[in-house]
Amino acid sequence: MLHLANIEKVYRTRTIETLALHDINIDVPQGAFLSVMGPSGSGKSTLLNIMGLLDAPTNGKLAIDGKTVTDLSDRAMARLRNDRIGFVFQSYHLINDLTVVDNVELPLIYRRMSSSERRSKALAALDKVGLSARTRHFPTQLSGGQCQRVAIARAIVGEPDVILADEPTGNLDSAMSDEIMDILSGLNRNEKTTIVMVTHNQALAEKTERIIRLYDGSQVN
């Protein structure tokens, strides 16, 4: 489904050039559950951002279902992210001004959809992550684990083909981490959602089908 060929990412300032990723070649088949591991600064998040069209590679090609997407316009990329990709972040990135259900509805705002349909999809997504009772709460009124479940609900509400999770358990204790991992595994197993997860946690990574290891921006096996 996702095909990365010879991906290279260089960050340039006036004086310094930093090679964040070098010659990355990855194929992510539909329905796969992959984890990306590596020490801090190895380029894991950069790789995930490129997969999610949030950042552009300096060189190389990213294709989704065989179509190159690295040269699309801002609007086309926004549409593609909205239709096909869901994100889960380590620090949740919920909007504190909005209620739980409004946060979950957010990706659907950018689609042509009635507000009632949007609301019912958001409630269904919250139900899937076991947060039906917290729809009117604000993020600041929730625990870390609950916030991450809201973030997962937001990621799945648009029924994306792939979820990109950047250290989704990084801020949680082990019990909460297991809960989140169970939700992600369930999505992969039952909904056939492709998941790419960045993690530092070896035990969690081992629960996925395949581990991609990065070191100093290069892929190691």
Binding site: D74, R75, R81, D97, D102, L106, Y110, S115
Partner: protein, 413 residues
């Protein structure tokens, strides 16, 4: 999408109460001042009753005479108006009335100070007052120099209490007059025309003695409906040529302006008191001043908005990640700003009604009537929208340039 933007804007404003308060305070204060200024300008430039003859009236209220050793800038004299302006062919009507004089009356042991105006019978046809009781004095009464008077409602109440004033004798230091009519003072369209008591111009002794080219009269020249002002002004200029010819030995130069109340108001503000100023140029200047005045709070608001957007950069990143294009985000932030400004505008609108009412009833600006009207409301709406868009565009543009990854990290554009 727009509905969503408005909904989000509303939620954000409710949740961020301090920011909302600070922004609203700035917007309300600025708009309040601007609305009051707009009402003042409206009062100066279109004070008459809509559709009345006064709206088609040109004023002759200042004459400038220069001789070798002297210079006079004064109201025109009765003689000048009667000899050169009254015979004009183009106007529908011509009327003169004196500047106000003072008189005193003692009513039930109480001193009543009165402003008195001498006016001809045509004055009433031009003003088209809705008489509360009685009638205006007529041409015959003027020609006979009858001691008749038209007084304002306020004067009638002060002099005669709640009962009818018509037919009563009114003793003043100028003589005793029979009241023939009572008018509502609110209908007097300008300071020029305002008095507590109006009496026939033939009773004005000053007219017969000193008045020549200059004196203490004001001429009102009514332009016929559908006729261009310029035709009347051209005829007036021809008359002025005649005046210069007739007074060649006496004065080196004679200048007199004929113009609308707005032209006269502009002349009051500008140098060159009897020159015709370009009205749109002066109005343009006022508009530029107003825009400059608005710029200060708008720049402040731009600043607040930029800080707010930096504070919300994580939200920008999240929205970008979940499918918002740059354009959609600019739209969202602009709508947020416009909603905030319109709320501020609505509050300022309500407050300004009270403020204008207070100014009017305080008597701070004599003869000013600063009621709220549709035109002022439209000024206010236009100002609100300008304000909202202006203070939102730059922050929205900066926000749209935020890189999604940097935005998620809470970075700056």
């Amino acid at each position: 999408m727009l509905k969503n933007y408005i909904k989000i804007a509303w939620k954000v404003l409710l949740r961020r109460k301090f920011f909302t308060f600070v922004s609203l305070f700035g917007i309300v204060f600025t708009l309040l001042v601007l609305m009051v200024v707009a009402a003042f300008i409206d009062n100066i430039f279109s004070p008459g009753k809509a559709g009345s003859r006064f709206d088609r009236t040109l004023l002759v209220r200042r004459i400038e005479l220069k001789a070798e050793r002297s210079s006079i800038y004064s109201s025109p004299g009765y003689y000048f108006l009667d000899r050169y302006v009254r015979p004009m062919q183009q106007p529908e009507m011509v009327t003169f009335h004196s500047r106000t004089g003072e008189a005193v009356s003692y009513v039930r042991g109480r001193k009543l100070e009165l402003s008195v105006k001498h006016a001809d019978a045509v004055f009433w046809d031009v003003m088209e007052f809705d008489f509360l009781e009685g009638r205006p004095y007529d041409q015959i009464e003027v020609e006979n120099a009858d001691h008749v008077a038209v007084i304002t409602q306020r004067t009638a109440e002060q002099a005669f209490g709640e009962g009818s004033a018509v037919g009563e004798l009114f003793e003043t230091s100028d003589g005793t007059f029979r009241v023939v009519g009572v008018i509502p003072q609110e209908q007097i369209p300008s300071e020029d025309a305002h008095a507590d008591m109006y009496v026939p111009s033939t009773l004005d002794n000053f007219t017969k003695s000193l008045d020549r080219l200059y004196g203490r009269y004001i001429g009102y020249v009514v332009v016929p409906d559908g006729v261009d002002d310029d035709l009347v002004k051209q005829e007036f200029d021809q008359r002025m040529e005649q005046v210069r010819e007739d007074f060649k030995g006496e004065y080196d130069s004679i200048a007199c302006l004929i113009g609308s109340p707005a032209d006269n108001a502009i002349n009051h503000l500008m140098p060159g008191r009897t020159q015709v100023h370009n009205r749109s140029l002066v109005l343009g200047g006022i508009v530029i001043l107003m825009v400059l005045f608005m710029l200060f709070p708008a720049i402040n608001l731009v600043n607040i908005n930029i800080s707010r957007i930096i504070e919300r950069s994580s939200e920008v990143g999240v929205r970008r990640a979940f499918g918002a294009s740059k354009r959609a985000l600019v739209g969202q932030f602009l709508v947020e700003n416009i909603v905030l400004t319109l709320i501020g505008g609505a509050i300022a609108f309500v407050l300004s009604i009270f403020v204008l009412d207070a100014i009017t009833s305080s008597g701070l600006i004599p003869f000013g009537k600063f009621g709220f009207n549709l035109k002022v409301f439209l000024y206010a709406v236009a100002l609100c929208l300008f304000f909202g868009v202006f203070s939102g565009v730059l922050p929205a543009y900066r926000m749209s340039r935020l890189h999604p990854v940097e935005a998620l990290k809470g970075g700056e554009a």
